[in-house]
Structures are given as structure tokens and as C-alpha cells.
Symmetry: C4
């Protein structure tokens, strides 16, 4: 089995995440050719600011967790390379559902519900991609620097299941209250910010 160090994978992932998080700003713009006062144009775009903030938090915390995950990885095999590529796809695409969410919330009604459903589904897929990567790393001997204890594996599984459950619930909530759904995404991001990966044994990095 041929394997490589995770260094260039981390650099490439960092690049894609840094670009995706910065591209979010491109959805903030004044509508072209609209002659109304700027203050009015700026105020009516509040959903775009909310969506920008939430997506920035989501990608930012994914970066922190991606980082925390790969710090434990010693070697990367081809499967992991492609699973990570799929994970990056689901994150790199996020500026699109973010723009859809902003447009939907501005329109309101059924459009807002559809938009927040699309946004939530995207994160269900991201969550599954993270799960695939995590599962492959746990099951393949020799990828981790230090094998995880049974309780740490259980912790990781619980953590993953919570996320998947929460994102799935948000897919449903989208049809009840789009704005609450957006708040819910911020909540899940906060959960992942505070609920850390299982404690890591001391290893020279």
C-alpha cells in the first residue's frame, strides 16, 4: 500500500477552505442598476448578511476541526485522498446554497423554506463526507499516529451522530421556520466549536 504524509493534503485543503470562506463575500453586493438610496439597498439585504455570517462560522469551524482531525494522521492513502476531495467539494460548494438562502429569505414564503432546505441538505452531505473520512481513518491500521481508545472512538461516533441528526432535523425545520433554521445552523457550528474531538494523547507533532 502506497501512502504519503498528510502535509500537502493539509496545504491543499487549507487553500480550498481559505478560498471558499473568502469567496462568500462575493454574494454581498449592491443590485446593479438599482437607483434607490444606498441605505435602503443595504438594509433590505439583511438576509445576505445573516447567511454570510453563518456560512463563515460553518466553514471556519470546519477548518478548525479538519485541522484537529489531520493532526492525528500520520499517513494518507489514496482512498483518504479522494474522500477528502469529496469533503472539500461539499465545502467549496457552500457559497452557492448560501446565496440561495439569502435570496430565499429575502423573498420569504415558500421560497425561503425551499432555500433553507437546500442549505441544510448541503450540510447533511458535508457531515456524511466528514463521517466517511473519520470512519476510514479509524478503520485503517497505521493512518493514525496513535490508535484511539474504545471510549475515544465512541466519543467520535456520538459527536458525528449528533451532527448528522441536527442537520437532518434542520432539513425538516426549514419548512416550519426558515429563520430558526439559520439560527440552528449557527447553533450546530457553536456545538462543534466547543464540543472538541476526543482528547489526544501527547505526541510530538
Amino acid at each position: 500500500v502506497r501512502r504519503v504524509s498528510p502535509q500537502r493534503l493539509e496545504a491543499f485543503s487549507d487553500g480550498v477552505l481559505a478560498i471558499a470562506i473568502t469567496l462568500l463575500v462575493l454574494d454581498l453586493r449592491l443590485p446593479e442598476g438599482d437607483e434607490r438610496p444606498i441605505s435602503e439597498l443595504l438594509l433590505e439585504q439583511w438576509p445576505a448578511y445573516l447567511a454570510f455570517g453563518v456560512s463563515f462560522a460553518v466553514i471556519g469551524i470546519m477548518w478548525v476541526n479538519h485541522h484537529a482531525l489531520f493532526r492525528r494522521v500520520r499517513q494518507v492513502d489514496r482512498t483518504l485522498l479522494f474522500q477528502n476531495l469529496f469533503l472539500l467539494l461539499t465545502i467549496a460548494v457552500l457559497p452557492f446554497p448560501t446565496a440561495v438562502a439569502a435570496e430565499g429569505l429575502q423573498r420569504g414564503g415558500w421560497d425561503a423554506k425551499v432555500a433553507m432546505f437546500v442549505y441544510s441538505v448541503t450540510l447533511v452531505v458535508t457531515s456524511l463526507a466528514f463521517g466517511l473520512v473519520w470512519n476510514h481513518i479509524l478503520r485503517t491500521p497505521g493512518l493514525l499516529r496513535v490508535p484511539l481508545s474504545a471510549s475515544a472512538r465512541r466519543g467520535a461516533l456520538i459527536r458525528f451522530s449528533w451532527g448528522l441528526l441536527a442537520y437532518s432535523a434542520l432539513c425538516v425545520l426549514a419548512f416550519v421556520s426558515p429563520l430558526l433554521t439559520l439560527a440552528g445552523h449557527l447553533g450546530v457550528a457553536a456545538y462543534y466549536a466547543f464540543e472538541q474531538l476526543p482528547a489526544e494523547p501527547a505526541v510530538a507533532t
Copy 2:
């Protein structure tokens, strides 16, 4: 307390700053479908060039100072990670108020004032985010390579207060003279370019 080296945080921050500074160019473009001579279209866009230049200087100098700050940091904790993420958000969003400033200055009148106010408020928030990061680094034992002397701390506080005061003043000035406000932002950038961080004790980097 779990802590990591600032290396990947610096790389990610560099990425976001490099992308944000380069995305500024996307606000420079010929209006689509406008058949007037190119020379005319180019000349009437002078506010966009000014705004581009000032924002490029602002982000560039923030990069220099971010760099100078984190060179002193030995370890990063989770709080710092998230505070830095918030700081990056306020910088990554800058292309939007830059475009608003350009549009406002081109329209003139009340729109110009609102636009420059929005631009200045953004930088007040950036300034506060820098203050949070700086404060956390100073107050948490073990994050700095070498603890700062009392006078160096005072210097950093003065430096921070000046910036916050200047950006707040520019929020007010926006309603008096939008163009002077833009010039003021260039002035603050120049201040931060020349007024350096407190002298750093010689440490192997």
C-alpha cells in the same frame, strides 16, 4: 488546556488575507452593456480606483501587523483560534464595503455619506477584533514567546486606542466629507505602517 503552534493559523490567515486583497480587483470592471466610449467609462470610475487603493493598503498593512503580532506568539488556544476567525471575517468582508464606498462616491450626496459611514464602521469592528485578539494574547500566560514589559503593554494599548478613536472619528466625518473620510482611512493605514508594535526582545524565531 490544549494548545497548538500558530503555524497553521498563520498559513490560513495569510490565505484569507491574500485572497481578500486580490478579490478587491473584482469591483473594478466596465459596466456591462454600456456603449459609451471606454475612456469615458474608465474616467467616471475614479471613486472605484480610490477605494481599491485605500482598501488594498488597509488589508496589506493589516497583514503586516497580523504577521508582526503572531511572530511573538508561541502557542494558540481555542479562544484565540475563534477570535482570529472573527478578525478574519471582518477583513474578508472588506471588498463589500469597498464596493459600497465606490458606488456611493460615484453617486455623491447622501449616498456617499452613508457609504463612507458603512466603510468606517466595518473598520471600527475590525479594530475591535484586533483588540480582542491582542488582549487575549496579553492576558493569557504562556501564549507569548516572551512576556511583554509593562511599558510595552502600555504602548500596545495606546496604539490600539488611537486606531479605535481614529476609525470612530471617521464614522462621524463620513457625514461631513466622504472624500476626506477616504483620505483619513489612508492616513490611519499609514500610521499603522510606521508606528510599529512595541520593540520585540531578541528571540530565535
Copy 3:
């Protein structure tokens, strides 16, 4: 002959590839000013999602292979620097034929055929550029860490020829079935994902 280590070339290439792959998302957007329900707008854009997915896979796998190739390189000369720059050009331009493919498939008919032909021609050129780089590395003594055996060279040649043949065939297939052509591109990407570079002798990296 002046030569440099491939390190900064790899970093620059990683940067361009990471940006190109992330810029693909900019072609996913709701048409501006179209008042139909968001669900309808989202559904009718299925060609854009397909094109996004295929191009993401294409660039991602090119990154993996670029990485695998340059891991064997010890030194870079000026010719290689410029050949690599040309290779990067052909990859950095891919978001454009991707957008053309999406538009063409949505329109259907002759437009779909032309669009998929343009997409396929782009990848013929990328393939030739990879061939140039590969050929120069093989023929110039001292660029590789370890010279390749005759059979490994033959393997690389076969691998390259297959790709060129496949992309050329897809240029023709475009005029028969545009959708099958897109599927074909996913197939070639999968081939390059699984059919690895010739086995590499064990060398300290």
C-alpha cells in the same frame, strides 16, 4: 544549467489548482432578476451541477497526479518552470469551458454539442501539456530523484496515450451525445484516479 528545488513550484501550483477548483462554484448561481420560484430555478440548472461535479473531479485528480509526479522530481529547470506554467494555464481556464458546458447542456441541441466539444478540446490541451512536462522530466538527466526503469517509462507512455486518446474520442462523441460525453469525462477522471503512476522506488522524501 541553473536549477532550483521544486518546493516553490509545488506551492504555486497547489495555489492555482486550489483556486481554480474553488472558483468553479461561481458558475452556480440563481439567474438575477428571474422571479420564478426558487425550486424551479434550482431544478432547471441541473447541467450546471453536473458540470461542476465533473470539473471538480477533473481538477482534483489532476492535483493528485501533479503531486505524485513532482514528488519524484529533485530539481526544476527553467524549461520545466514554463511548461508547468502552461499546464497551469490549461487547468486554470477550466471554469470557463465548464460554464460553457453548463449553458450548452441547458440549451440542448447544437449548442450542447459545441459546448461539450469545447470542453473536451480544453482537456486534450491539458493532456498534451501534462505530456510535455512528463516528457521533459524523463528526458533531462538529473531532474528525477531516481531514474525510471524502461518498463516504468513504457507504463507512463501508455498511461499518457490512453488519456490523450480518450479525450480525443470525447471531442468526437460530443457531436453524438453531449451528456454521454460529460459522463465520459467522469470516466477518464476515475481512470486516472485508480490507474496510478508507475511504482516508485523507495526514496526518502
Copy 4:
């Protein structure tokens, strides 16, 4: 005098250059809402392809030369940091004159001339910025790893003067033949690709 290693400056410059070169693709796009056949839309955009190719070559070769220059630098002072920032500004802005050139060449007539003049002026400024950086590095003791010989300095001066002269000539040529001017820019890029920096003494990198 406080000085730092050029490492993070190089990383930031690489980032900006990689992003600027990749953003060039955003000027290649089908005009929105134009119902004519895709083949026609693609063919009439030939100036955009030319401008893309030339600017890609220009930025690519600037990257190569930036790299070659800073490989000789041991230490960076604040002045150099800001001069480099100005150099990056002139390169990061290039996608804009590139788009102007494409639009101008498509319109033809006086617009083409103005557009190619603007494009050429941008590169005069880039050239001056490179000259500033180069001059500061030569005149400040201790920045270079190894001081340059008198003949190497003369070589660098000649090389710089040729570039400045050529770009200035292209500003004039723009009003005679816009297409020849674009070809001229490709020529200057080729000159800088082949005419290397003065020979570098062997130093451990």
C-alpha cells in the same frame, strides 16, 4: 533596524500572484441573456482569449522573476515590505486592464487604442515598482545573501531599463496598432522569460 526573514513575504506574494493569475479566467464568460448560438458567442470573444493568454504569461513570468529575486534576499526590512506590497498591487490589479483590453479589442477603433494604452500604462507602473524593490535591495547593505558584483548590478540595471523602455514604447504603439501592442506584451514577457537575472553565486538556499 528590525528585519525579518523573507519567508512569509514570499508565501504572501505567491498567494496574491496565484490568485491574480487564476482570477483572470473570470473575464472569460458567455454574455448573459444573449440567445445567439454558443459557437458564435465563443468566436466573437477572441480578444478575451488573447488578453487572457498574454496576461497569464505576464503574471506567470513575474512570479518566476519575483521568485528568482527573493531567493537572493536574506532579510526583509519594513521599506521592502511596503514596496513589495505596492508591487503586488500593480500585479493584482491586472485582471482589470485585461478585461478592458478584451472589451476594447472587441469594439475596435479608438476604444481599442485607449484600452491597450491603459493596459500598457499598468505594466509601466509594475515595471517601476519592480525597479523600486530591486533598487532598495541593491542599496541596502545586508539584505542580499551575497553582495552583487559591479557587472551584475550593471546587468540588472540594463535589464530593468529595457523593460521600462519597452513598456513605454508599447504605450505609444497602442495608438498605432492595438493588436501589435498586445503581441508586444507577449514579446516582453518572452524577453523576461529568457533573459535571466545576473548569474547568482553558489549559496546554500
